[in-house]
């Protein structure tokens, strides 16, 4: 194939999300992350002989919520099926899942497309299932140990249509998905803890081709950045294979983010026959129209609706509104202080500016913000009342963000209040003017830069605690 061919990437996503129910899907063990190995399990989630599953109704409720928030049709008559395969982390040697009648179908969410317009990513289905345990390899003893704590943690698998054409689209979809699921409270979606995991089905085809290429499935990406790298890496690999006249093999590949490359795990030929059949230990679940309506009414305002409201009612910019609504935690920070009476635009500026910058500098996610959200409001209030300068406020916020300090106390303890005594300000400036005769002369001969220098020196002498405008006015007055 000629090297001039331009290629189109086609992708579909399978996203596994751990539901935030208190107990597991088929027993009453806790779903809490972590814990010493094999302390969050019982005979049921470890599949001992003779035990039976009892369905946790909250799982159905959470899955229904997710489906409604993702614009899906809800299946009224649900069944569970068994997916059979052998692996040490799966103690029953089958996973209770849904194949034939998944709880949600035919949904979708809107994202921004590459061309700047809107694009709907279709959701083929969402099904409920149980998570497996974890294998821990011990290199010292060269043995593998099994931790069953995660066995039976409820999952939903959200299967998209093959609607993605770029890594950016995938990331935007995942961000939106994560925001929605966090907003409705069905999952904390922490990728680091594995409560949101995405597998990517990827193929490439010449631009303009109608036919899908052969796809690979990629697993083991644990951050959005890794996902973007994996997509770029895998699409390049496939294009190279095709351009060299080869064929892409249908297989499952494991992304190794350290090596920036993917490796084949198993090919289609070794693909397992899961021998699905209806789970005989669980009776079908019927979901009534009434339940669906109740669930729909119980949903909080979703990010998209919030975004629109922030623009139309609060006058935020499109950009600020859409950034704010990517996270339940940013929204909480914003809305909590909005309710306390602080102005929307000022709050948005702070969040879009300082909060985002500190998050990005520290490599943290909004859910990792540990400070009391009301502190941002208190800080803004102090600026509004001219108790501190904007610059001081930024410094104080860093301490709030990093150490959770109470800003009011911090300002007092560090003596950061704006100097409001104009006499004291004037005295300080006069000293600066006296000590910088050269700059004074330069200013008088028309060099504006010299004024900036003098302002800076004055602010420094006042340890930043004076209002810069006041300082400028007094300085100009002294200099005549």
């Amino acid at each position: 194939m000629a090297k001039t061919t331009s290629w189109e990437i086609v992708m579909g996503l399978e996203v596994h999300v751990e539901l935030a129910t208190k107990t597991k899907i088929f027993c009453s063990c806790t779903t809490e992350f972590g814990g010493a190995p094999n302390t969050h399990c019982c005979p049921i989630c470890t599949g001992m002989p003779g035990v039976l599953p009892s369905l946790n109704k909250a799982v159905v409720e959470y899955a229904t919520k997710a489906g409604l928030a993702l614009n899906c049709e809800i299946t009224r008559y649900n069944k569970f099926d068994r997916k059979n395969y052998f692996y040490p982390d799966l103690p029953k040697a089958y996973q209770i899942s849904q194949l034939y009648l998944p709880i949600c179908r035919n949904g979708g969410i809107e994202i921004e497309a590459e061309n700047g317009g809107k694009k709907v990513i279709g959701i083929h289905e969402i099904h409920m299932e149980e998570d497996a345990g974890k294998l821990v390899h011990d290199p010292w003893t060269d043995s593998t140990m099994v931790d069953y704590n995660r066995c039976g943690v409820p999952l939903i698998e959200i299967v998209s249509e093959p609607d993605f054409r770029s890594a950016n689209e995938v990331i935007r979809y995942l961000e939106k998905l994560k925001a929605i699921l966090q907003f409705i409270g069905v999952s904390d979606c922490k990728m680091q803890e594995g409560s949101l995991r995405a597998d990517i089905n990827l193929s490439v085809r010449p631009v303009g081709s109608e036919k899908f290429g052969t796809r690979t499935e990629m697993k083991n990406m644990n951050s959005f950045k890794a996902i973007a790298r994996a997509i770029n890496g895998e699409s390049k690999r496939q294009i190279e294979v095709l351009e060299d006249g080869g064929e892409v093999k249908q297989e499952t590949r494991r992304w190794d983010d350290n090596k920036d490359a993917s490796f084949a795990m198993r090919s289609k030929e070794d693909a397992q026959d899961y021998k699905y059949f209806p789970e005989p230990d669980l009776i079908p679940i019927e979901i009534s129209d009434e339940t669906i309506e109740q669930t729909r009414n119980s949903l909080p305002e979703l990010p998209e609706a919030k975004r629109q409201r922030y623009v139309s009612e609060l006058g935020l910019s499109e950009y600020d509104a859409s950034q704010l609504t990517t996270s339940k935690y940013l929204v909480a920070l914003f809305e909590q202080n909005l309710e306390a009476g602080y102005p929307a635009k000022e709050l948005a500026n702070w969040i879009m500016g300082e909060v985002m910058r500190l998050l990005s500098d520290s490599g943290r996610e909004p859910e990792d913000m540990t400070f009391d959200y009301s502190y941002l409001g208190l800080l803004i209030g102090m600026v509004q009342k001219n108790e501190i300068t904007r610059n001081t406020a930024k410094k104080v916020f860093k301490a709030v963000f990093e150490e959770g300090c109470d800003p009011v106390r911090y300002v007092e303890e560090h003596n950061l209040k704006t100097v409001t005594d104009t006499g004291a300000v004037k005295a300080a400036i006069q000293e600066v003017v006296a000590a910088n005769q050269k700059s004074v002369d330069e200013y008088k001969s028309g060099k504006e830069k010299a004024l900036q220098y003098l302002i800076g020196q004055s602010m420094r002498a006042l340890r930043g605690k004076a209002d810069p405008q006041t300082v400028t006015a007094i300085l100009k007055e002294i200099l005549g």
Binding site: P49, V51, L52, L55, N84, K92, V146
Partner: protein, 489 residues
């Protein structure tokens, strides 16, 4: 007082009245086990705390805590029901070292009624078989003739009751595993409606068909046991609320006006003439007691065996996958890697019949065959249910043979699985339909082996079935006869 001829309810009453203590009763049963079990091999495990338990039960009877008519009566539990701290082997090498940390709900319920469990009863490996010969612990022998099988898979349960080693037993029935051994051993057994007894703690063979039930000397005893264990259980999602079993109603029942249907298709090729004659005679007897008996056609019978073996094997292949040598149970000594560990442990841990059904089950569920086999079998299952629904519009009870023959010789069927499977022709339909059905002693063949009649009722009609059986047992004494081998000892 002759304990050897006493029923469970008679013994329960004697204990309640203080004529005998629970400890004395337990000592008697342990003596019976000592005397007979070497010959019949009914028990896989005899508990070492029987007398302690009996003492504790006696105290609670005396203090009025245990009021069940069965309190203090020694009994046995099929070895596929978990009992906390007691080896639960399922007759398999695979679980020969397995002691659960929990008890089956049915076991818990019967314990709450003051049962004194003697131990765990032998069975076909994982309840797969109709002869109790496939047990890792060796074959159980029929107390009527030790050269014969006791039937299966609850062969240990039926033989132990017949031999007087226990007063009643819990069995399980997936395709006839209570009824066929009851028939072969001349005792009474009932598989209740699917969902009426919790399956929690019953090691699964085929989850959609498995059901726990009693085997005892007569219908009244069976009713008393059912009354204790037919309870809805939130630990079993498929369990349902029922009206239970009503002992007073059973004891006062008659069959006047009871409409009994006999499917002509139950009397086709393969049915032993002497068995047919015993069933016909039982029908006449019931007629003479005031029932109306009518024959009707039920051609759906021919789908029963294939549908049953497809569904049961499919579910079994999945249910038994957990025995992989990783966490508990048998693990091969030497293995190269994970696959080798699985393969060797399962090859060595399971017997021939279990492996046959696992392979059959994997085949019918495999991609490309599911529609041809499993889906078709589910359709046949639905048709069988429909046929019974229709029959029960006309009849109160359905009568027929339990098995086409009386007990076969040991080894006779083991080499010919297809022949063995065909022996389940009359029993599997009730599991597919989920209906309650009992086996009630109704005669003997010319070799002196017992014949059981099959009484099938509509959903939750356990009381009606057992009432008719009790009425029949008031005027017949087949159930009271003592096994030949005991008489000869």
């Amino acid at each position: 007082m002759n304990l050897e001829t006493m029923t469970a309810l008679e013994l329960g009453a004697a204990i309640k009245n203080g004529e005998i203590s629970a400890v004395e009763a337990a000592k008697f049963s342990l003596g019976q086990i000592d005397k007979y079990d070497k010959k019949f091999s009914c028990f896989v495990t005899v508990q070492d705390d029987v007398l302690q338990r009996a003492e504790e039960v006696q105290k609670k009877i005396s203090s009025g805590e245990y009021t069940s008519p069965l309190a203090g009566v020694p009994m046995g539990i099929k070895d596929n029901m978990c009992q906390k701290g007691i080896q639960t082997s399922c007759g398999s090498r695979m679980l020969s070292n397995f002691k659960p940390t929990y008890s089956a709900t049915a076991v818990e319920e019967i314990m709450k009624a003051g049962a004194v469990p003697l131990g765990k009863l032998n069975m076909d490996e994982f309840a797969m078989g109709s002869t109790s010969e496939t047990s890792f612990f060796g074959a159980t022998k029929n107390p009527w003739n030790v050269a014969c099988v006791p039937g299966g898979s609850s062969g240990g349960s039926a033989a132990a009751v017949a031999a007087g080693e226990c007063f009643y037993a819990l069995g399980s029935d997936t395709g006839g595993s209570i009824r066929q051994p009851a028939s072969f051993c001349g005792v009474t057994g009932i598989k209740p409606t699917y969902g009426s007894v919790s399956r929690f703690g019953l090691v699964a063979y085929a989850s959609s068909l498995d059901q726990i039930g009693p085997i005892a000397h007569n219908a009244a005893d069976c009713t008393a046991v059912l009354a204790e264990i037919m309870k809805q259980d939130k630990k079993d999602n498929t369990s349902v609320a029922t009206k239970g079993a009503d002992l007073a109603a059973v004891l006062n029942a008659d069959v006047k006006g009871t409409k009994i249907g006999i499917p002509t298709d139950f009397f086709g090729e393969g049915l032993d003439k002497e068995v047919a004659a015993a069933i016909e005679a039982a029908a006449k007897q019931l007629e003479s007691m005031g029932a109306t008996v009518e024959k009707f056609d039920m051609p759906i019978v021919k789908y029963a065996i294939p549908a049953y073996y497809i569904i049961a094997s499919a579910e079994a292949s999945s249910n038994l996958s957990r025995y992989d040598g990783i966490k508990y149970g048998y693990r091969a000594d030497d293995f190269e890697d994970l696959l080798d560990l699985y393969t060797k442990s399962r090859s060595e841990g399971f017997g021939m019949e279990v492996k046959r059904r696992i392979m059959l089950g994997c085949f019918v569920l495999s991609s490309g065959y599911y529609d041809a086999y499993y889906r078709k079998a589910l359709q046949a299952k639905a048709l069988i249910k429909e046929a019974f629904d229709k029959a029960f519009e006309k009849y109160d009870l359905i009568l027929g043979p339990v098995a086409p023959t009386t007990a076969l010789k040991i080894g006779e069927n083991l080499s010919d699985p297809l022949k063995m499977y065909l022996g389940d022709i009359y029993t599997v339909m009730m599991n597919l339909a989920g209906l309650p059905a009992a086996s009630v002693p109704c005669g003997f063949d010319s070799k002196g082996m017992p014949v059981g009649m099959h009484l099938i009722g509509n959903y939750f009609d356990e009381t009606k079935i057992l009432g008719a059986a009790h009425a029949y047992q008031q005027v017949t004494d087949w159930h009271k006869r003592k096994p030949t081998e005991l008489v000869n000892m």
